[in-house]
């Protein structure tokens, strides 16, 4: 095993050969441009960090690189040769590996079987188990890992599974590895191990693209940093020449536009909900009071617990500890159905998987919650009895579709989200938990949604808005919570600077103690 002396000391900028060069890459989805002439290169033996807010274009750029999306214009050179991948298999064969947050391992197979899937060492069609184990062990050893190759993947921790995924990539002789927010599901110790693995890879000449929001990590392991914002490149720097402040400024430095309606001057209403010491498997020591008439923004990175908080509030992943008291004296809802019946609405962050029936009509989707409330009685369907009521809601959310009878799957993301908003407006909730309310939608629809949330709050509703989009957290919230490691880290007043929130959020759970102390 090559000798190592800490991650930082390993020679940065090794031989400097340019492995990958993406030149003037642009990408359109229909008429929407999501990448604007971006140039990005990776050298052998370097870690190149890619930073940017959600929606900045990082994942689109990486999907182009790994063959999931075709490029609209621009060139991709790998070892000086132009590549045009039309399928991820081709990118993989060309030596480009990607480690997604969602791992793609077979949980019921062993580590070795996963690492060598499709390339099993064999003689006459018979698998040479011994060689398979040896090869897997070698691949793992290159990462400084001693995970037993015969262990079933399902018995490993997420961090170990990630290492297996990396081993699988390097066993196919990947020369370029993309890490997409790899530390999100890891704790500090596991993250540190991962950094050692990455350093190991770097010293063996692999080019690494590292995507992360966490500045501390980026500056710990990156040689160079490229910042994206709104689909444009904001520059590439040597990590030594940059500071976290500078990078954050480039990432978020955007005037808060007229997207957001003004806050009302009124004082918050009465307390709607009080949580003392709330917790479950993903949440710890949540103390929180919600007031009517307020929008509470909850910021945090992936895995910070902000989505878990939203789900706990609506009874999908219940609180198991703590005292939760609603205004009417009742405890937290025990199921989403109970939540809906008690006037608590939930807008999921995953519109396709948890929000819409894509093959059903706009009207059917928008009537869903109303119908759910009436379902037990099998009353005549509300939309059929009174289509005007749902159609009026569509006008409220500025839905522009010629035919409210078409399948929701045919609409743009923005219009789809408006359908979900119409669904909940119909039930007149008093607490509205919205997760990533504007993820993947156009600016026009964003403005509509912010206005809608503000009108709703002004009318006495309470909103909990969980979001990874700091602009939106700042622009739309009356109070801001920052979460990390399943805990509420700090509460900030409305109008706090993005860099201040980011500074709190980007420090991993390891720093919680210091910050609190």
């Amino acid at each position: 095993m090559p000798n190592r002396n800490g991650t930082a000391a390993i020679g940065k900028a090794v031989d400097g050969t340019v492995l990958l060069s993406m030149q003037d890459v642009s990408k359109f989805f229909g008429s929407i441009q999501v990448l604007d002439t971006i140039s990005f290169d990776v050298r052998a033996g370097e870690v190149h960090a890619l930073c940017g807010e959600n929606g900045a274009g990082k994942s689109t750029l990486m999907k182009i690189l790994t063959g999931a999306f075709p490029v609209s214009s621009g060139r991709i050179l790998l070892n000086g040769q132009e590549m045009r991948f039309v399928h991820p298999v081709e990118a993989r064969a060309a030596g480009i590996g990607i480690i997604h947050q969602e791992l793609s391992l077979l949980p019921h197979r062993t580590v070795a079987e996963n690492i060598l899937l499709g390339r099993e060492p064999s003689r006459g069609g018979l698998v040479d188990r011994r060689r398979m184990v040896t090869e897997a062990r070698d691949a793992l050893a290159r990462l400084g890992s001693a995970i037993p190759p015969e262990a079933p993947v399902a018995s490993l921790s997420i961090a170990e599974q990630q290492v297996v995924e990396i081993a699988k990539a390097i066993a196919t002789h990947a020369r370029l590895l993309v890490f997409d927010e790899p530390t999100a599901p890891l704790d500090t110790v596991e993250s540190a191990k991962l950094f050692r693995v990455i350093a190991e890879l770097r010293s063996s000449g692999v080019g690494i693209v590292y995507i992360s929001h966490r500045m501390r990590e980026v500056f710990e392991i990156a040689d160079r940093i490229t910042v994206l914002k709104d689909g444009c490149g904001m520059g590439t720097f040597d990590a030594a020449d940059a500071t976290p402040d500078k990078v954050i400024r480039l990432m978020v430095g955007r005037p808060v536009s007229a997207l957001f309606p003004p806050r009302s001057a009124t004082t918050p209403g009465e307390a709607l909900l009080t949580i003392l010491g709330g917790g479950n498997a993903a949440l710890h020591d949540i103390d929180l009071t919600l007031y009517a008439g307020q929008i509470l923004g909850v910021a945090g990175l992936e895995g910070s617990g902000k989505t878990a908080l939203a789900r706990a509030l609506v009874g999908d992943q219940r609180f198991t500890t703590g005292q939760i008291t609603f205004r009417d004296g009742r405890p937290a809802p025990r199921s989403p159905r109970e939540a809906v019946q008690r006037g608590i609405a939930y807008l999921s962050d995953d519109r396709k998987a948890e929000g819409l029936g894509l093959r059903q009509s706009l009207r059917d989707n928008a009537s869903l919650a109303l119908r759910a409330l009436a379902a037990g009685l099998a009353l005549p369907s509300i939309a059929n009895r009174n289509p005007g009521r749902i159609d009026a809601l569509f006008r409220d959310v500025e839905m522009r579709a010629a035919d409210f009878g078409v399948a929701v799957g045919r609409l743009s993301g923005g219009n789809q989200q408006k359908v979900v908003f119409a669904r909940w407006l119909a039930t007149a909730p008093h607490l509205w938990v919205v997760a990533e309310p504007t993820r993947g939608i156009d600016v026009g629809a964003k403005a509509t949604i912010y206005a809608l949330l503000r009108r709703y709050a002004d009318a006495g509703g309470a909103v909990v808005m969980v979001s990874s989009d700091l602009t939106e957290i700042i622009g739309a919230s009356d109070r801001i919570l920052v979460m990390s490691g399943g805990r509420i880290l700090v509460e900030l007043p409305a109008g706090s600077a993005e860099s201040e929130i980011m500074a709190h959020a980007v420090h991993g759970p390891g720093q919680v103690a210091e910050l609190v102390a």
Partner: protein, 325 residues
Amino acid sequence: MSGITLSTRRFRPQGLLPAALIVGAALTYAVVSLATAQSAQLSWAGIAGLLQRMVALGITACGQTLVLLVGSIDLSVANLISVSAVIAAHVMNGRPDAIALGIAAAIAIGVIVGLANGLIVSKLKVSPLIATLGIGLVLQGVLSAAYDDLPGSVPASFRVLAYGHVLGIPLALLLLAAVVALAGFVLSRTVIGFRLYGVGGDARTARLAGIRTDRFVIGAHIAASVTAAVSGLYLASWLGAGTPWVGRDGGYDLDSVAVVVIGGTLLSGGRGGVAGTIAGVFVFATIDAVFNMLQIDPFLGQILRGLIVISSVAAYTFRGKAHVA
């Protein structure tokens, strides 16, 4: 992500399951035979009789295991068993010299049916349930239409397969053992087997690893159909002739799926193996034997069997959080 974390929590060592099933079933069998004073059931002849009940279902279930592992299902096996038995008997028509031809004809039909199932599932993207139910209906219809024109019986020499012994061991048991060993060998030792698990576990991952998933789906279907054809041959040998209802009356569709699932193979594919399947078959055989010894009404036995199938699958699925339809 959550899929993996969930399964971490639910992971159970699969290696012990087949052994536990077999020991449990064998103990029940022994206790009941002693309690009802039928100790003859515990003699070698009694046990060989018990084991012989496993043959037809066991062979079929080995093929079904492969199909389920790859994430598909085959509900045409019962009708295919009938077709195979009838065709074999018809081709042999009592002539010892036509035995090889009869066997070849039955196997060939198995290959064709499996190919059809596999192509419909993988290329036409029809739900395997419907594809194989539909093909099963086609087989059933053709068979009942043509049966009157397909008289025949197997020659006495072919009946050795069902009734012969080698070194005191029924020949049929050796056939079952051979099929089990072959399937087990393919699954646990060959590249094909390893990749089959990959295809059933996560087709996307398998495709990314450069595996042509369609070929595995088609191959598994062919294997299932061929084992069903072999079962048909065995039943023809056992009964002396083929009948169009031998497969359906045996309930081989549901039973073959049920024993595979009871043996720990996931209905959705990617985990399991023939050891569990054979344990499941043993459980079924002992259930029948125990019902017999207890003189339970055969119709009541059928009711209980249905309930056992449902509850044993429930034991695996009950704790999942995902929606099931």
